[in-house]
């Protein structure tokens, strides 16, 4: 991918907009832009995470399988957000199954190469990891709110 295009493409995403120009240029060294059809399985829960990606177009469902309930969508990833953060965090195994629910384009980073880059370019690490933690933190916070099951009925009996 042309370096200039890549930096612009990455900068247009929520995740990439928070990265320095240096970081975006370095990341270009191991990135490719890929478009997947709908219903493509990008990650499989428990498997090695094949890439760290940033969704630029489309929608990706993160699903977990529950026996007798089938796949449950926990979250949908919208353009700008990350897919496959586990590629950067040991043990590098996907925490959910990621399926495109419409044709989707991602900037995908080859995980081994990206990890090497991060290991040797501390300036890159210093800007990428806080952003990654912010993305994961948002997910954690959202998951907690979902866990509260706010829209459900009160458990205790009411006279009304």
């Amino acid at each position: 991918m042309n370096e200039h295009d890549f930096v612009a493409e990455l900068g247009a995403t929520w995740f990439g907009a928070g990265l320095s120009l240096h970081a975006r240029a370095r990341l270009g060294e191991c990135a490719r832009l890929l478009t997947h059809p709908a219903n493509a399985v990008l990650l499989r829960e428990g498997d090695d995470t094949p890439f760290f990606g940033i969704l630029t177009r489309g929608r990706v469902a993160l699903r977990m399988r529950v026996p007798e309930r089938g796949p449950v969508t926990i979250l949908t990833v919208e353009p700008g957000d990350v897919v496959g953060w586990s590629a950067l965090v040991p043990p590098h195994r996907a925490t959910s199954t990621a399926v495109t629910i419409e044709p989707s384009t991602l900037i995908e980073f080859e995980p081994k190469r990206l990890r090497e880059l991060l290991e040797h370019d501390l300036a890159l690490s210093a800007t990428l990891y806080p952003r990654l933690l912010e993305a994961i933190g948002r997910r954690l916070s959202a998951t907690r709110q979902q866990l509260l099951d706010l829209y459900t009925q009160q458990a205790e009996p009411v006279p009304w």
Binding site: W14, R59, A61, R63, G70, P71, V72, T73, I74, L75, T76, E78, G80, V99, I101, E102, A142, Q145, Q146, L148, D149, L150, Y151, T152, Q153, Q154, P157, V158, P159, W160
Partner: protein, 648 residues
């Protein structure tokens, strides 16, 4: 009063002018000069512009010969009498410094000419009364102004014709003469109906020794003025105008009008009430004497707000807003009246034709045009009236919408955000937010949470129940006019915001971008699904998200705040309405505030706190509020720390 009025034949107008001129008094009246009407000295009735009228429109003024015998057929002249009572330049004082360094100040002693103003329009008289309050009615008095006013007589003429830029009837200053005059005249074809409005006027009237007017003359004068009023209609709705305008300090229209405004200050120069001045110093080269002079200034000039601390109103839009809000809002706070008398000069003489009436209607439209927070309906907790179930429509597995036809039509006046008490014999009363008023019915969306709600949605068409209301303070939709509207609802919280959606889509052009962000537990728990396509067609961006979903759901999954991720209102004034469980509202309010929606314009509903409906049982109290009475809809700025706090 008919009995007090006399009739002055047209041929006798010079008798009046002669009386006014007695004792060396100069008579100032309308004359023609340079293609416009100008107040100047007149020696006799021959100096008056008989047979003329004018064609005034936004940015346009032409004299027109109408061939009539009328003397006062012209509207207000470009320059009002302010140039005589409050001249553009007036000496204030002289400061002197002698060679040995002694400094002295000598205030100017007013030496006003004795003037009689003839042919003064009612709006002009009203403007003098406004300036009297400003310049001579407070603790600080402009002595030059006071002296000039005391030395003048006012002979007013009621208007029997309205120009296209006149709006005195809206401002309550015309077209009849009601106060502030010594004599008032109404012109008929053959003369004038004359009455007195002061002691000096009574003396003049007595010396004129006029025959009493006939009933026909009285009727003709009254009808002529009524015709002028009818020709104007009601162009500026002043009810609530002060508050409406002050609610709109960040309306986008200020920037838009500033694009057209040249900041030429014409409007303030022709305004008969504008009183802002600057003091100029004119010093000798050696500094021995400095003359201090008061000169007209204008809040439109770029440096008007440059004070010791810098220029605090640098943008043109700020200066236009300052002018308009002063005239129609803050003037009320300062002087207990509007600073506008509806003479229309600022419209006529604006080079680009900015019409203050249009700007007011766009920026601060009357409350009547949109449903507003309605006054609380008084009533006891037992004042139920019967309603009949017209239909019951299931929304989800546990939620249905009842359409109820009330026997009391007052219930159909429910405003968005208000609620009603629903009573079924044998069950506790339910406070339920109104989810729509349409087709003579009140729509209530009820979720089966306990025995009473379960019984309510089990009712069949034709069944009866009791209703009380409408109750509480609803949504302040007025605060959203001209702005982006952000509606965020969670779960059954979509019901109390649906009347906002109905209102906004009915008057879609009054609002900018309108977005609904709706969060539900699962796809099957969503309300009003069948209406959403229609809402989108009518100009609302409908976004949805659910907490969890199966593989069939192709929409978003996550929390409702994720729907606001791509939005930013820092440069787009927005108003938000939020309803849902408390934790959802807290997260939403935080997200909206981060994204540039000010807390004064984030409204939440605390409907879950309601109990008896009128704030008498005490259950609903939260800090200083009874939620049933003072809410359930609140601005976040009103709630402050109370919102989201446990145990209050």
């Amino acid at each position: 009063m008919v009995t007090d009025a006399g009739f002055l034949p047209r041929a006798d107008l010079d008798r009046l002018i002669g009386l006014l001129r007695e004792g060396g008094r100069t008579v100032i009246g309308p004359t023609l000069d340079d293609g416009a009407l100008v107040y100047a000295e007149i020696g006799s009735a021959d100096d008056l512009p008989t047979g003329w009228t004018d064609d005034a429109a936004p940015g346009r003024y032409r004299l027109v010969r109408d061939g009539s015998e009328r003397t006062f057929g012209l509207g207000p002249p470009p320059q009002g009498l302010k140039r005589y009572t409050f001249p553009s330049r007036a000496p204030l004082a002289v400061a002197e410094r002698t060679a040995d360094g002694a400094v002295s100040f000598t205030a100017a002693i007013p030496d006003p000419p004795r003037l009689a103003f003839l042919g003064v329009r009612p709006c002009e008289v009203a403007a003098m009364l406004v300036q009297d309050r400003v310049l001579a009615g407070g603790p600080f008095v402009d002595e030059d102004y006071r002296a000039r006013r005391q030395a003048s007589l006012v002979v007013a003429v009621a208007c029997t014709r309205s120009g296209s830029t006149c709006f005195c009837a809206s401002m309550g200053t015309g077209p009849e003469v009601t106060a502030g005059h010594d004599l008032a005249m109404t012109e008929l074809d053959d003369g004038f109906v004359v009455s007195a409005g002061s002691r000096a006027g009574e003396q003049l009237l007595a010396r004129l020794a006029l025959p009493a007017i006939t009933p026909d003359q009285h009727a003709a004068a009254t009808a002529a003025v009524a015709g002028a009023r009818a020709a104007q209609g009601r162009q500026v709705v002043t009810t609530g105008l002060r508050d409406r305008l002050m609610d709109q300090l960040d309306h986008p229209r200020w920037a838009e009008v500033a694009e057209r405004c040249l900041a030429c200050a014409n409007c303030t120069m022709v305004c008969p009430t504008c009183f802002c001045t600057s003091t100029t110093l004119d010093s000798d080269l050696d500094g021995a004497a400095t003359r201090m002079e008061r000169r007209w200034d204008s809040c439109f000039t770029g440096d008007f707000a440059r004070v010791a601390g810098g220029n605090f109103r640098p943008r043109r839009q700020d200066r236009y807003r300052q002018w308009l809000t002063h005239k129609f809002a803050t003037w009320v706070d300062q002087f207990d009246s509007f600073g506008c008398v509806g003479c229309g000069r600022c419209i006529t003489w604006c080079p680009v034709g900015i019409d203050v009436r249009e700007e007011l209607a766009a920026i601060a439209p009357p409350y009547e045009e949109l449903p507003m927070a309605a006054p609380v309906v008084a009533g006891s907790t037992s004042a139920y009236s019967t309603a009949v179930v017209r239909s019951v429509a299931p929304e989800t597995a546990d939620t249905s919408t009842l359409a109820l036809v009330p026997s009391d039509d007052a219930l159909l006046a429910a405003r968005p955000g208000q609620f009603v008490m629903v009573e079924q014999p044998g069950f506790p009363a339910l406070p339920i937010s109104v989810s729509r008023v349409a087709d003579g019915a009140l729509w209530l969306t009820i979720r089966a949470a306990g025995p009473a709600t379960t019984a309510a949605i089990a009712l069949r068409p034709g069944a009866q129940l009791g209703l009380r209301g409408p109750l509480g303070r609803g949504w302040d939709i007025q605060r959203a006019v001209g702005r982006d509207v952000v509606i965020v609802a969670g779960g059954i919280g979509l019901a109390p915001v649906r009347p906002i959606i109905d209102t906004v889509l009915r008057d879609r052009e009054k609002f900018r971008h309108v977005i609904l962000a709706y969060g539900a537990r699962t796809p099957a728990d969503r309300l009003y699904v069948s209406e959403m396509a229609d809402w989108a067609d009518r100009g609302m961006v409908v976004t949805e998200i659910v907490d969890r979903a199966g593989p069939d759901w192709l929409g978003r999954v996550g929390v409702v705040t994720h729907l606001l991720d791509q939005r930013d209102w820092h440069d787009r004034p927005a108003t938000a309405f939020v309803v849902g469980p408390e934790r959802m509202m807290e997260a939403t309010v935080a997200t909206l505030a981060e994204r540039g929606v000010p807390r004064e314009r984030i409204f939440v509903s605390l409907e879950r706190h309601m109990q008896c409906g009128i704030g008498l049982c005490g259950h609903c109290q939260m800090g200083p509020f009874f939620v049933c009475r003072d809410g359930p809809c609140f601005a976040m700025s009103e709630l402050g720390d109370l919102f989201g706090r446990e145990g209050i």
